[in-house]
């Protein structure tokens, strides 16, 4: 509940007043707020908690943390109801 989940930024786009992005978590794609990691680009890994990117991390670290979270059954936060509109990937 207080752990970040690492994910790979697929795309980023401005949505209304928020810098948002599509982030892939081991095959599960979620919309994530990138406001506090404004330099992060598609292809970068970020540590995400409840739809909000907290920091950038390197790829090797991202893979290690993700596998551990899977092992601990700590990926359930990704299961909550997502955005009401259908998922779409936009290029910035």
């Amino acid at each position: 509940m207080c752990l970040g989940i690492p994910g790979l930024i697929i795309s980023r786009q401005q949505e209304d007043d928020l810098l948002m992005g599509r982030v892939d978590f081991g095959g599960v794609s979620r919309k994530v707020c990138l406001e506090h990691v404004p330099d992060a680009q598609p292809g970068d890994y970020v540590l995400v908690h409840v739809g909000f990117a907290l920091s950038r991390i390197d790829a090797a670290e991202a893979h290690k943390i993700f596998e551990l979270l899977r092992e601990l059954d700590q990926l359930t936060e990704l299961e909550g109801e997502g955005e009401p509109e259908p998922a779409r990937v936009l290029e910035s």
Binding site: D17, K31, V50, F52, L54, L78, E81
Partner: protein, 377 residues
């Protein structure tokens, strides 16, 4: 790596175990703060790889567990209103209130929704202008920035039907309270890695200085935890206090300054009651006065909350590291994840749930032989 079952991980685990055995000359009690660390320690049997002199105590770092009963009861009262869409993280749904939980409320017809992100509640508010959309904003410093962003944008977008029931808690005051407790048994802390990725490491320095304890900011992989314990023991044996960052590959000393600024803009520090522990001064975050139109405590007047905890539950002592789950007579018998008496049995990060999930005996665990790397429990 994960299970300590590849050769390199096993070699490293044995290295840290050996280091610990070589450096430990007297008994030490070390508390991990983060519930994710507790879960990892119990799952991978890290405590059983340590010399017998070292005891790991499990701390209060499970936000679901420490959300006060009054707040859960208040959430239930608000969720039951026909004009409300009540949004929450999934972890809170089965946390027992005095007489019910949010899952039961949903079964009885309340519009309770499990969200991935608090920002999703903004869309729900926009698309349901005739409903009051309430988000249950709980969590430590890792969760607070997302919740703060949702609240700030709700205000900027004029979403007057959005409010947050805010019950945020802060890590450093909990550590201070544990150190001030005359019954306290903690001599060093493993600090919470992901919390520090937001907050940085500076706020732990005054605690380390005042109480003369080492605080090792630690990750939650098995080898991180072993290394964190080893660093803590070295500091203890050398009589050193201070903040040591084992997790520097994720935690920068300054944290995320943009997130800290947002927290400061939306929230202010307040006294907060922690479930099982009691009132801790300056240990929570509440909405600032400027945000009161989005504060569910202001929007909904819910009075006459009379709370009732099951008398048998010892979760308060478990959360303070005074007792361990198997010390409870109800553990794994009258209290199970299916029928929890207290929140520490609900959340996977609660110590009771972790002990139950990974088959720790319902009697004080006998210490296993050291150096069992490669043989997870």
């Amino acid at each position: 790596m994960k299970r300590l079952d590849d050769a390199e991980s096993r070699r490293l685990a044995m290295f840290w175990s050996g280091e610990l055995a070589a450096h430990t000359t007297k008994p030490w009690r070390i508390m991990e703060i983060c519930g994710g660390q507790t879960q990892s320690i119990v799952k991978f049997g890290i405590d059983q790889l340590l010399p017998p002199e070292i005891e790991l105590l499990h701390g209060p770092g499970c936000p679901v567990c420490v959300t006060p009963l009054e707040m859960v009861d208040r959430a239930l009262a608000i969720a039951a209103r026909p004009d409300v869409i009540f949004c929450s993280f999934g972890d809170m749904l089965r946390v027992p209130g005095s007489t019910s939980d949010l899952l039961q409320a949903k079964a009885l017809g309340a519009d309770v929704r499990v969200l991935y992100s608090p920002l999703d509640a903004l869309s729900i508010a926009k698309h349901n202008p005739h409903k009051k959309v309430v988000f249950f904003a709980i969590g430590f410093e890792t969760t607070a920035p997302a919740n703060a962003m949702a609240i700030q944008r709700a205000r900027e977008r004029g979403l007057s039907n959005f409010s947050a029931l805010c019950s945020h808690v802060l890590t450093p005051p909990a550590m201070t309270s544990i150190l001030q407790d005359p019954a306290q048994r903690v001599q060093a802390f493993l600090g919470p890695g992901h919390v520090c990725s937001v907050m940085g490491t500076a706020e732990y320095l005054p605690i380390a200085e005042r109480y003369r304890v080492p605080i090792v900011i630690t990750g939650f992989e098995p080898l991180d935890l072993l290394e964190g314990v080893c660093r803590a023991v070295r500091h203890l044996e050398a009589g050193e206090s201070g903040v040591d960052n084992q997790y520097s590959r994720v935690v920068r000393p300054e944290g995320n300054r943009a997130s800290q600024a947002l927290l400061h803009e939306v929230f202010e520090v307040c006294d907060r009651k922690w479930r099982g522990i009691g009132l801790l001064p300056k240990s929570g975050l509440r909405l600032r006065y400027e945000y009161r139109a989005h504060d569910a405590l202001h929007v909904f007047e819910v009075d006459d909350i009379v709370t009732e905890e099951p008398s048998e539950c010892i979760s308060g002592q478990v959360l303070r590291g005074v007792k361990k789950p198997p010390d409870c007579p109800a553990f794994a018998g009258r209290c199970t994840p299916e029928h929890p008496l207290g929140a520490t049995m609900v959340s996977s990060e609660g110590a009771c749930a972790a002990y139950h999930a990974y088959g720790r005996a319902p009697l004080p665990a006998a210490r296993l032989t050291r150096g069992r790397a490669g043989a997870p429990p």
